[in-house]
C-alpha cells in the first residue's frame, strides 16, 4: 500500500507487548492476535502521504514508546472515576482502568437475566463461540490502528442481548487511563450484539489524567440485529496529554436502528473512525457528532455510511467548534451501492472557527451507484454570524455574552438530540465551562 510504512522498531516493540497480553488465552484468540499483528506489521503506522491520514500526523504516536500500564493507586482511580461517572448513577456500568476490568467498581445489577454484560476477556472463556464468531467480523479491515488493537487488545465490554429484550437501563462503559512515570498504551476492545427485536442504550466514555502522554487505541464493534435498536454515546473526554484513536464499526440488519452521538472534547490528537453498514432493508442510521478544540488540539472525525441495501435512511450531522490553533478534520463518506434503491441519505457538517488560527479541513464524499435515491449534503465553515451578533448587541447584550450564547446555541443543537438527560447536562456543563466568563444575561439565554 502506498504511503504507508512501518516505523523502525515498531514491530519488535509490539512483539514484546504482544507476549505480555497474550498469556493464558485460548488458541483462537492467540491466532486472532497473530493475524492482527501481521496486518499491522504489513501496513505500519499511516503516514501523512496516506489519503485518509493526510491531515493527521501520527509520528508522535509511532515514536513514543508506549509501555504496558501499571496499576495506578486507588486514590487516583477514584478521582478520575468521579469525573467519568458524573450523573450516571442510575446507569449499569463497566469500569476499565488502564484497560483492565474492575468488577469491584462496576455494577451490572438490575438488568434482565438473559442479557450478558461483562468483560470481553471473561467472555472469551465463557462465551467463546459468540466472541470468536463476531470479533473482528464487523471491524474488519480499516486503519492499521484497528489491527494494532487486535494484536495488543486489552479488556473491554462484552454486551449480548438475545432476541426480544428491551434494556431500559443505559449501560456505561467507562474507560479510565492513568499514566504513571512513563507513557502507557491502552487498547480497549468492546463487542456488542443486539439480538432481533432487542434494544439497548450504551454510553462509552474515555477519561484520563496526568501530564504523561498516553495512547488510547480503542475498537468498538456492534451487530444490530433485525428490528433491533442501539443508541450509542461515545464521549471522548481524554486528558490533554492523550493521543486518542478510535474505531467504531456497526452492522445493521433489516429494520434496525443505530444512533451514534460522538463527542470529542479531549486529547492532543484525536481520531475517530465511525462506520456503519446498512446491511438490510429499511434500516435507519443516525450520526450526530460534536467536537470542540482549543490550543493545538487536532480533532479528526472520519465517518462512513454504507448503504448496501435498498430503502434505508441515514442522517448525519457533525458540528465542530475550533478556537486557538486547533485543527478539525471531517471526512464523511456515504456509499450508495448499486442495489440500494430508494436510499434517503442526508449529511451536514458545520464548523465554527473562533480564531484566525483555527483550521478545519472538511470533505464530504458521496459515492452513489444507484439511480433512484435521495442524497443531500451540505457543509458550512465560518465565524460567528456578524448579523446575529449585532442583533443581540443592539438589544444590550455584551459582545462576550453574545458570542458565548451563539456558540452555545450552535453546540446545543447536537446535545439536544441526545435522549439521556444525564449526558446532556454533563456535556452542557463542559460546554459552559469552556465559554468565556459570562454574566447573568448569558445564563438566562443558555437555560
Amino acid at each position: 500500500m502506498s504511503g504507508v510504512q512501518t516505523h523502525d522498531g515498531t514491530a519488535s516493540h509490539c512483539g514484546r507487548l504482544r507476549e505480555r497480553v497474550g498469556r493464558h488465552e485460548p488458541a483462537w484468540l492467540t491466532d486472532f492476535r497473530d493475524r492482527s499483528l501481521a496486518r499491522f506489521e504489513d501496513l505500519g503506522f499511516p503516514l501523512g502521504s496516506a489519503e485518509e491520514w493526510r491531515f493527521t500526523p501520527v509520528g508522535a504516536i509511532a515514536e513514543t514508546p508506549f509501555g504496558p500500564a501499571d496499576v495506578p493507586n486507588e486514590d487516583d482511580i477514584q478521582a478520575a472515576l468521579a469525573r467519568a461517572l458524573y450523573g450516571s448513577a442510575d446507569f449499569a456500568r463497566l469500569v476499565f482502568v488502564n484497560g483492565m476490568f474492575r468488577s469491584d467498581l462496576s455494577d451490572v445489577n438490575d438488568l434482565p437475566r438473559s442479557v450478558e454484560v461483562g468483560s470481553l476477556r471473561n467472555a472469551c472463556q465463557s462465551y467463546p463461540d459468540i466472541v470468536r464468531a463476531n470479533l473482528g467480523a464487523v471491524a474488519s479491515g480499516g486503519p492499521s490502528f484497528t489491527s494494532l488493537n487486535g494484536a495488543l487488545m486489552d479488556d473491554g465490554a462484552f454486551i449480548h442481548l438475545p432476541a426480544g429484550v428491551l434494556v431500559d437501563r443505559p449501560i456505561h462503559i467507562a474507560h479510565v487511563s492513568l499514566s504513571g512515570d512513563s507513557p502507557i498504551g491502552v487498547h480497549p476492545r468492546s463487542l456488542v450484539i443486539v439480538g432481533e427485536g432487542s434494544s439497548a442504550v450504551i454510553v462509552e466514555s474515555f477519561h484520563g489524567a496526568g501530564d504523561m502522554p498516553y495512547l488510547t487505541n480503542g475498537v468498538f464493534e456492534a451487530v444490530v440485529g433485525p428490528n433491533a435498536g442501539l443508541e450509542h454515546y461515545r464521549l471522548q473526554m481524554e486528558a490533554e496529554s492523550a493521543y486518542h484513536v478510535g474505531r467504531t464499526a456497526v452492522r445493521l440488519a433489516r429494520d434496525a436502528r443505530y444512533t451514534s452521538h460522538s463527542v470529542a472534547f479531549g486529547a492532543a490528537i484525536s481520531r475517530h473512525d465511525l462506520g456503519a453498514v446498512l446491511g438490510g432493508e429499511n434500516g435507519v442510521c443516525t450520526f450526530n457528532g460534536l467536537y470542540m478544540g482549543d490550543r493545538r488540539q487536532l480533532l479528526d472525525s472520519h465517518t462512513v455510511i454504507d448503504h448496501a441495501t435498498p430503502h434505508c435512511e441515514s442522517h448525519e450531522l457533525y458540528k465542530g467548534i475550533l478556537n486557538g490553533h486547533a485543527h478539525g478534520v471531517f471526512n464523511g463518506k456515504v456509499f450508495v451501492r448499486k442495489d440500494a434503491q430508494k436510499t434517503d441519505a442526508k449529511q451536514t457538517n458545520q464548523a465554527l472557527l473562533l480564531s484566525d488560527t483555527a483550521r478545519i479541513d472538511s470533505k464530504p464524499q458521496l459515492e452513489i451507484f444507484a439511480d433512484d435515491v435521495r442524497c443531500t449534503h451540505g457543509a458550512t465553515v465560518g465565524q460567528l454570524d456578524a448579523d446575529s451578533l449585532f442583533y443581540l448587541r443592539s438589544r444590550g447584550i455584551s459582545l462576550e455574552d453574545a458570542r458565548s450564547v451563539l456558540i452555545h446555541a450552535f453546540a446545543s443543537d447536537i446535545i439536544d438530540r441526545m435522549s439521556l438527560a444525564e449526558i446532556r447536562s454533563q456535556l452542557e456543563g463542559v460546554l459552559l465551562s469552556s465559554l468565556p466568563k459570562t454574566s447573568t444575561a448569558f445564563w438566562e439565554m443558555a437555560e
Binding site: 446575529s388 438589544r395 444590550g396 446545543s412 444575561a441
Partner: protein, 261 residues
Amino acid sequence: MGQIEPMLKIDNLHASVEGNEILRGISLTVNAGEVHAIMGPNGSGKSTLARVIAGHQDYEVTAGEVLFDGQSLLELEPEERAWAGVFMAFQYPIEIPGVNNAYFLKAALNAQRKARGEDELDAMEFMSLIRGRIRDLDMDPALLNRPVNEGFSGGEKKRNEILQMAVLSPKLAILDETDSGLDIDALRIVANGVNALRSPERAIIVVTHYQRLLNYIVPDFVHVLSDGRIVRSGGKELALELEERGYSWIEAETRPAAVVA
C-alpha cells in the same frame, strides 16, 4: 443658553459601506417627545441612517457627529448604545436558532437594567411585564417559547420587534421599515404599539418607504432623503404631498440639505 439639549443631534454625517459613500452629510435634530418620519426612495440611505445610529459594523462613519443626550454615540459599542436608551427595530429581524425568545428578551432587559444600575427582574416580574404587552400586540404567546424569530412569519417578526421595544422602553426608538410587508390589520396593531410608547420623554424616528404608516403613527416632522442627503423637511402634510406626487419631483429639485430645529 437656557435651551433644552436635544436628545439626538446629527451633524454633517457621512457614512460608507465597502468604500461607497451612502450618507453624504445628514444633519438632523430630534427632541424628546417628537416623532420624526424619514422617507425616501429605495437606495436613498434611510436604512443606512438607522443602522449607523444603532452601530452596525458594516458602516464606516467618515465624517460628522452623532450626539445622544450630549454624548457622542459613534464612540459607543452597539450594546452601550442600547444601555444609553437607543433601540432600532430591524427591517429584517434576525433569526437566532437555539436561543429561546423569552429568555433572550429577559436577558436583554436585565443586561440593560444592570448597566443602568437597576435591579434585575426575576422570572415572575418579567412575565407579568410582558403578558400585557403580548396581548396588546395580539401576539401568539407560543412565540415566546420558540427560538428568536426562527420560522416566524414576516408579521410575527415585526410584532416581535415591537414587543422588544415595548419591554425595553428605549428613550429613542428607530423603526426601520417596520411597516414593510404588513397587512392593514398588522400595521394597525404595530402602530398602536408604537403610539403607546409616545411620551414627552421619548423620541421616535420612523423610517418608511410608504406614507400609509403615517396615517397611524402621525409624525411631527417629515424628512425626505435622497442620495444620502435630507433634501426636504416639513410637517406631516409633506408625507401626504409625497403620497400624491411621488418622490421624483423632490429629487428633481435637488435642494440643499435642510436642518430642522
